[in-house]
């Protein structure tokens, strides 16, 4: 089985094949031999070693949490939280080659939680810089500023100040 997995700044093809009781996981030119035991619905104990014997066997306790979009997971391992996105091979589409930066194309600014729109800081047509504040949402007694992930131009603003929004509602699109 081949998966396309985006992590950090890159996307990679990852193939998994069964070899007896072990799994062989190939990422690019590297092959890892994995002894996997499922210890919970979303938790795996992994013993991982490079197929070429260049490093000792590493014990990795990994747990996953599903995110809102299908195929998106937070992977918890080694005291860290690492977000990954998994698609069937080719699932990230033609516009993005493996290894290209994740997240090109229009960014939809979504309400991360149910709340109230306190301020809309930009209007359609505005040029925005990466990390520039776009809209302020109030929830959990706090005001939260949602920012642009990268430079772009505001296309649609679908909310107004004072409006209540559900989690996942599209607030605006930046392209």
């Amino acid at each position: 089985m081949i998966y396309e997995i985006a992590v950090g700044q890159g996307a990679h093809l990852v193939s998994v094949t069964r070899q007896g009781t072990l799994l062989h996981v190939a990422i690019g030119s590297r092959t890892l031999v994995v002894d996997a035991r499922r210890v919970g619905d979303m938790t795996l104990s992994l013993l991982v070693a490079p197929a070429d014997g260049s490093a000792p066997v590493t014990s990795v306790d990994a747990s996953l949490a599903t995110q809102r979009a299908a195929g998106d997971f937070d992977v918890h391992l080694a005291g860290r939280v690492i977000p990954v996105q998994v698609r069937q091979a080719g699932g990230f589409g033609r516009q993005k080659k493996a290894g290209a930066a994740v997240g090109a194309g229009p960014q939809r600014i979504l309400a991360p939680m149910p709340g109230k729109i306190v301020r809309v800081l930009v209007k359609a047509g505005d040029e925005v810089k990466a990390r520039q504040g776009l809209v302020v949402v109030e929830a959990m007694k706090m005001e939260n500023e949602l920012r642009a992930a990268r430079d772009g131009r505001v296309r649609d603003v679908s909310v107004a100040e004072g409006q209540s929004v559900d989690a996942g509602a599209t607030l605006m699109v930046v392209e």
């Binding site: 990679h12 990852v14 994995v34 990954v84 939680m113 959990m140 949602l146």
Partner: protein, 502 residues
């Protein structure tokens, strides 16, 4: 005292339930609509609904809570912290209903709740306060008058709400030109948060430490101070890491600060648990800041270094017992303790709240670790309340040991499905200045403003590779066979299936 109603939710309600259990006293929970399955409801002996999810319609409803107390037959009420804990009307309503309020008198809450009255009490006790106005500057006070007073105090200064707390209605003013706008903003914020637009002015101490002294006072005239807590690590004026003792406080300074704190409490005839907050200047001079007339969030660090159960003592004091602890032992810390407040916020994304279902939870254990939590696997973090889900506390033989254990515990702590501030604490605990004890209340703002501090977690290529392996193996082993060979079939599931076939 046979039964205590806990007028709170979350980790602090759980903490109080545990103290009740330890004393053989019944624990009554109250809950809002969204908290029906919250941990404090599950652990209590009884639970009573008090209204819809919005705090104003449930946990802040004095009448509904008094009603629940009467119906349940409780003889005392513990307010926890937040919500009604520092509301003198609630304390008075409990007294009027014949319930013991586990906290100070309504009069003490009212007196110390006014920042200017509290400053006057400190001055009366001979304790230095930050130079500033002794009288509230009410809504009628003109801008010109405030400017004159400000000129006498000197800039930069702090503009604060008389009824304030939690950083609301607070502004830093660096020159006379900034004052009118800051005054308007602080007044409107204070008016909407506390229903009182009165403010006062204080000189701004440039890089102070926030040091506080825990106190207990009984009904027989005894007030005992405890070794200090260091609470300088703050974000948006909210404490996030606390420890005891403070590296900045020598035994001699500890004597001075704890005596000063006890003097303020005695001046106002204070009873039960309370905390005096001080600002400690870099030259070793300290100033009274305010008094919190309740149990503090960070009380566990004091419990860890003194061995005293503060919540149990709150209850024992309220039922009239004498505070017969050895005063000397409370001032000599047993090694070191540190606490991190775990919030349901995404620190990698501007500390955006991250409510939702906790899909999985792995709580750290082992030597010197304590987790005071209101969370459980499968539980929901609602959007209506403070986002703190737990407090992680570690104890060590010295500061280095306590910090090493905290790092270990944080790396074991997994809260899956929502994002938490755990990576933020890993980042703080890796900072050289933090480790060396070189910090003040501006630490977080300075560090987070530094270029290159964009991401908190150190995730290198090998971690990313392992994350891909884990995700791929998870999907592969789940889809390869209906029941993966590696997963043993649970005997409970088998029993359940057998049951269903009967």
């Amino acid at each position: 005292m046979k039964k205590i109603l806990i007028a709170n939710r979350g980790e602090i309600a759980v903490r109080v339930i545990r103290a009740c259990r330890d004393l053989g006293i019944g624990a009554v929970a109250v809950y809002s609509e969204c908290d029906r399955a919250a941990l404090h409801v599950r652990l209590a002996d009884e639970a009573w609904p008090v209204g819809p999810s919005a705090p104003r319609e449930s946990y802040l409803r004095i009448d509904a809570i008094i009603d629940a107390a009467k119906q349940s037959g409780a003889d005392a009420v513990h307010p926890g912290y937040g919500f009604l804990a520092e509301n003198e009307d609630f304390a008075a309503a409990c007294r009027d209903a014949g319930l013991v309020f586990i906290g100070p008198t309504p009069e003490a809450i009212a007196l110390m709740g006014s920042k200017t009255a509290a400053r006057q009490a400190a001055i009366k006790a001979g304790v230095p306060v930050v130079p500033g106005t002794e009288e509230p500057l009410g809504e009628q006070t003109s801008d010109a008058e405030v400017l004159t007073v400000a000129g006498r105090i000197g800039y930069p200064l702090m503009l604060k709400a008389v009824a304030g707390g939690g950083g609301k209605g607070m502004r830093m003013v660096s020159s006379a030109a900034e004052l009118p706008a800051a005054l308007r903003a602080a007044r409107s914020e204070a008016q909407s948060a506390f229903g009182d637009g009165a403010v006062y002015l204080e000189r701004r101490i440039l890089a102070p430490r926030h040091i506080e002294v825990q106190l207990l006072g009984d009904h027989h005239g005894t007030v005992l101070p405890f070794v200090e807590r260091e609470c300088s690590i703050q974000r948006r004026h909210q404490k996030v890491v606390e420890e005891s003792p403070s590296l900045a406080v020598s035994p001699a300074l500890r004597r001075q600060m704890t005596s000063a704190a006890a003097a303020v409490a005695r001046t106002v005839g204070y009873t039960n648990a309370g905390t005096i907050e001080f600002l400690l200047d870099s030259d070793g001079s300290f100033y009274f800041l305010e008094m919190n007339t309740r149990l503090q969030v960070e009380h566990p660090v004091t419990e860890m270094v003194t061995g005293v159960d503060l919540v149990q003592w709150q209850i024992r004091i309220a039922r009239g017992e004498r505070l017969d602890l050895d005063p000397e032992s409370l001032l000599i810390p047993r090694a070191h303790a540190i606490e991190c407040r775990i919030y349901a916020e995404d620190p990698e994304n501007g500390f955006l709240p991250s409510p939702g279902r906790i899909q999985g939870l792995r709580v750290p254990h082992g030597p010197g670790v304590r987790d005071d939590s209101g969370a459980y696997e499968g539980g929901e973090v609602p959007i209506f309340y403070d986002p703190m889900i737990s407090k992680l506390i570690t104890w060590g033989e010295d500061r280095e040991h306590a910090v090493a254990r905290m790092k270990r515990a944080l790396s074991e702590y997994e809260v899956r499905g929502i994002r938490t501030t755990i990576p933020f604490f890993q980042w703080i605990l890796a900072d050289d200045d933090f480790l060396a004890g070189r910090f003040d209340t501006t630490f977080i703002d300075r560090k987070m403003g530094t270029p290159g501090s964009g991401t908190l977690q150190v995730i290198d290529a090998s971690h990313e590779e392992l994350a891909m392996v884990a995700a791929a193996v998870h999907l592969f082993t789940r889809s390869a066979t209906a029941a993966p060979a590696a997963e043993p079939i649970s005997v409970w599931k088998q029993a359940g299936r057998a049951e269903a076939l009967r």
